[in-house]
């Protein structure tokens, strides 16, 4: 029975939007393109991203004669709410009534929409101003059209809630009635744009607008990557080399072909390791449905050559990393003379920390549908990088990029995994090979065993104490780098990894030395939500609590003392190639005043040092990442068997000016859960080059019973003059150290290695 469901998340193909604009008398068709510059009260790193930003209202807004305002969302929706938040900014600035706004998802086309890499917690920070400019330009063009029609000065008219009003005469015209005339107005120059006064915002900063997909999600109508259905589509799963860098030697498909519904078995093209985002090859089973393809794959007999990573063993590798952390490495930051200050210290506190590989394990596994025909490719996929996916599909198939359309579906979670488009490339290759649309579905085992893993690291910190003060800090971080996925033999963390809470340490200590000994990668390493901030923050924030304990100090007071007075951290020549999330320091300085601010805010709201029952403990941690400041207090309860529960979490975030506080809260609540996952359970280990865990029995994640009983989120009221900063990722890094510091307070047991697993048994 064939019952194709039309995608409910409206996909804007290039052809469709032109057609749509033609029909609906889209706003502004013939006018000069707006300057991309100007207007912004602060500079961002957006211009350094591929294709920067676009603020042309003709690209993002269309008004139908019935008044329906269509706003384009060009960033990928994976749960942060960005598909709602940025269109809401446009609507607010243009005085559109949100209930009459329709949001459409853009395909991958960065020349048109600006950068679409939805990662790095960048969307609001790079697009708040461009989207305000889009909305303001649309509003002013509607006002100009109404003034012209009434033959009154434009200064006498005002757009208010989906209509333009002439107060003197009480005349009103709706946006729909003005659409055609507004389209004939010249586009307003950026220098002439009047942005709304923030006190007049109706949606921005209020948190009253629900996500646009809420109804569809709760009724099963929301369209994710896995939900694409095309006429004559085939379903495929792929058996991939179990060891990264391994190759297919031979396969026997006889039994697979006997499975009811299996139609074809074929080899998938492989790229040599390091394969970047290209497919790793293997054997594809193509069938009439996914279930048949999976059963067919189970029946394959395959011989692999495991290649050079066949000896990757997590137990041995951990020892390697830990030994490397005990020896000097590349100096990546140096202030004063930490080695000498450690020698002359009264006491040296040493902490060694270990954090394993993690899998992203988004609930929607990687999945993509491709239809390649007549030298053109159309892709439907849950990708964080639609622009990059488009380029990579073109390169992989050997066709011009103009011939590739990447339709962005909803993402069933991303967390960095879906920044890599390998699964879309697999679908494109298979569709090209069989001449029919193909959906490639990854199973959970595929997802966990063939991930671009979060790195694994050993961190060692030595803190020298003299006269009760910390005078020296030597931190060594050893971890295989993401660079190894792109460059053979890469063994050192890149500036983008070093800059994540390691060399940017904001502590007021005279002698600081950061070193990065080498580590070779034996699997694919990739970005995982908040990336290297996870190990760096865990080590630093655990160490602070260890020092506090050693000195008999309150951990929060110790933290504030180490942060020191409010100032802008100037690393000067102590760090080469300092990377600050790609942002100019002038707009996004490392501001210890704001760092202190979130510590003080969470201490107050979270009632630091409140009395807690026996077996309970409070822990605190703070971390700046993605140019936001987050502090967390966790209350933990540990029972006699070592089981831990979390009665309460308080998190304070300072993310500058903000758009949607309701979604900030949900991101922080979610970060606590992901923090619990990685602290309690998260670990992918390798044996004989193969990932040991394959599903949620081995790679466990937090379930509802692990959830805090209460999570309070406290958003620092920075005001409209402070540039917006990240939200999706910064909540994660401080969570695990705050939890483990709380465990110490509750039990006296110091957790230095993650996951916690069974370490608390008998604690």
């Amino acid at each position: 029975m064939e019952n194709l469901i039309a995608p409910r998340i409206e996909i804007v193909s290039r052809r469709a939007i032109l057609r749509g604009l033609g029909i609906t008398a889209g706003l502004v068709l013939a006018a000069p393109v707006l300057s991309r510059k100007g207007m912004a009260a602060y500079a961002t790193g957006a211009d350094k991203m591929p294709h920067g930003t676009v603020n042309d209202p003709r690209v993002f807004v269309a008004i139908a004669p019935d008044g329906t305002v269509t706003i384009i969302a060009a960033r990928s929706e994976m749960g942060t709410g960005i598909r709602t938040s940025l269109p809401m900014v446009v609507a607010d600035e243009m005085e559109a009534d949100w209930s009459r706004v329709h949001v459409r998802q853009a395909p991958g086309d960065e020349a048109k929409y600006g950068n679409q890499d939805t990662d790095g917690s960048r969307s609001t920070r790079h697009f708040l101003i461009p989207m305000r400019q889009v909305g303001a330009a649309a509003r002013m063009m509607l006002e100009a059209a109404a003034a012209a029609q009434w033959n009154v000065p434009v200064t006498e008219v005002k757009a208010v809630n989906h209509e333009v009003v002439h107060a003197k005469t009480g005349r009103k015209l709706g946006f729909g009635a003005l659409a055609t005339a507004a389209a004939a107005q010249p586009v307003i120059e950026v220098s002439q744009l009047r942005l709304k006064d923030p006190k007049d915002f109706r949606y921005i900063g209020k948190g009253t607008v629900g996500i646009v997909d809420l109804h569809d999600i709760t009724t099963g109508q929301a369209m994710y990557g896995s939900d694409t259905r095309l006429p004559n589509m085939k379903y495929a799963v792929i058996a991939r080399p179990p060891v990264v860098g391994g190759k297919l030697v031979s396969f026997d498909a006889a039994d697979a072909m006997k499975v009811s519904g299996v139609e074809k078995v074929m080899e998938v093209k492989a790229w040599p390791w390091p394969s970047k985002f290209q497919p790793v090859g293997g054997v594809a089973v193509i069938a009439r449905n996914t279930g048949a393809a999976i059963m067919g794959r189970d029946a394959l007999k395959i011989v692999w050559d495991d290649g050079p990573n066949a000896t990757y063993d997590s137990v041995a590798y951990r020892t390697e990393l830990e030994e490397a952390a005990r020896k000097p490495g590349d100096v990546v930051r140096n202030n004063g003379d930490a080695d000498a200050a450690l020698k002359s210290a009264d006491k040296v506190v040493v902490g060694e920390y270990y954090l394993p590989h993690l899998a992203h394990a988004s609930m929607e596994t990687p999945v993509a549908t491709a239809h390649v025909a007549d030298g053109k490719a159309e892709i439907w996929a849950p990708v964080q990088s639609p622009g990059g996916t488009r380029e990579d599909v073109a390169k992989t198939l050997g066709i011009p990029v103009e011939n590739v359309t990447v339709n962005v579906t909803l993402l069933g979670g991303g967390f960095g995994r879906k920044s890599k488009c390998d699964f879309a490339l697999e679908a494109a290759l298979l569709s090209q090979a069989i001449g029919a649309p193909v959906k490639v579905q990854w199973t959970r085992e595929d997802d966990i065993r063939h991930d671009f893993y979060h790195t694994v690291s050993a961190e060692r910190i030595e803190a020298g104490i003299k006269d009760g003060k910390v005078v020296a800090w030597r931190h060594r971080s050893v971890a295989p780098s993401i660079l190894s996925t792109f460059v053979p033999g890469a063994k050192h963390e890149m500036p983008i990894e070093l800059g994540m809470g390691f060399v940017d340490l904001p502590f007021d200590i005279a002698n600081i030395r950061c070193e990065n000994p080498e580590a070779a990668a034996h699997t694919r390493i990739g970005w995982f939500r908040s990336v290297s901030n996870i190990p760096h923050a865990f080590a630093v924030q655990t160490m602070v609590a260890e020092i506090a304990h050693e000195l008999g100090r309150d951990p929060k007071d110790m933290l504030l003392e180490l942060i020191g007075p409010a100032r802008l951290v100037d690393l000067g020549p102590s760090v080469k190639d300092l990377w600050d999330y790609g942002e100019p320091l002038a707009s996004y300085p490392n501001d210890t005043g704001r760092l202190r601010g979130v510590v003080e805010l969470v201490a107050e709201k979270g009632e630091w040092n409140r009395p807690v029952p026996k077996g309970h403990g409070l822990g605190i941690a703070v971390h700046r990442s993605f140019v936001s400041y987050v502090a967390t207090i966790v209350e933990v309860a540990v029972d006699a068997k070592g089981n831990l529960t979390i009665p309460r979490v308080d998190t304070a975030i300072d993310c500058g000016t903000f758009v949607n506080p309701e979604r900030i809260r949900s991101q922080i609540e979610g970060a606590a859960i992901m923090g619990i996952s990685l602290a309690k359970y998260g670990e992918v280990t390798f044996k004989d080059g193969r990932a040991v865990q394959g599903n949620f029995d081995g790679f466990q994640v937090a379930r509802i019973g692990d959830s805090p009983m209460v999570t309070n989120v406290h958003i620092a009221p920075s005001g409209p003059d402070v540039p917006p900063s990240g939200v999706g990722e910064p909540g994660l890094p401080p969570f695990a150290p705050a939890l483990c510091n709380a465990i110490f307070a509750a039990t006296g047991k110091r957790v230095r290695n993650l996951p916690i697993g069974k370490q608390l048994e008998g604690a």
Binding site: M1, N3, L4, G79, G81, G210, I211, D213, L214, H215, I217, T218, T219, G220, A222, Y224, S226, R229, Y235, V259, S260, G261, R288, N289, T290, G291, A292, M295, A361, S362, M363, E364, T365, L410, G412, G413, G414, F415, Q441, R444, E445, E662, S666, Q667, E669, G670, A671, A672, I673, M674, S677, N695, F696, D697, V701, R703, I704, G705, S707, T711
Partner: protein, 150 residues
């Protein structure tokens, strides 16, 4: 030939009786609201009702559901206004939303059997449904909301 009723409509399947119900629903019947998450009854994303009881469709063979009445998220309420769905919207539960159909089907089965579950009962029954975004606090709130109407 296997006959089942899905959301009130009669369906027949003459393919592999071992095919998991999940893939029949999604790929053969076009009901994509039910999601794949693990294929091993570990995450609950594929939860549907079989004769009114929550079941993991990813490990339920077509042969096991012959003659049964199946309800998927698409059929839970004709207008998407089951009390659980309304509560979910009221509490703004979803982030990415992918697991939510399974969560809602599990929660609605729970309330069918136990209209006023305690917090512990909610946590126990919903423990089989993973949300990687971490909406658990709101899931708990929404189930409570649906059970009390407040």
């Amino acid at each position: 030939m296997i006959e089942v009723t899905v959301n009130g409509q009669k369906h027949s399947w003459d393919g592999d009786p071992a095919l998991p119900l999940l893939w029949y629903l999604r790929d053969e019947a076009g009901l994509t609201g039910t999601k794949f998450g693990c294929g091993a009854a570990l995450c609950g994303a594929c939860t549907v009702h079989v004769d009114g009881e929550a079941a993991r469709s990813c490990i339920t063979a077509m042969s096991a559901v012959a003659g049964t009445k199946i309800t998927t998220i698409e059929g839970l309420d004709p207008h998407g206004n089951h009390p659980v769905q309304k509560a979910w919207r009221e509490a703004n539960v979803p982030q990415c939303g992918y697991c939510q159909a399974g969560q809602i089907m599990q929660a609605s089965a729970l309330l069918q059997q136990n209209p006023h579950p305690s917090r512990e009962e909610i946590r126990d029954t919903m423990a089989g449904n993973i949300c990687r975004c971490g909406c658990y606090q709101r899931i708990e709130t929404a189930v409570h909301l649906a059970s009390t109407g407040t």
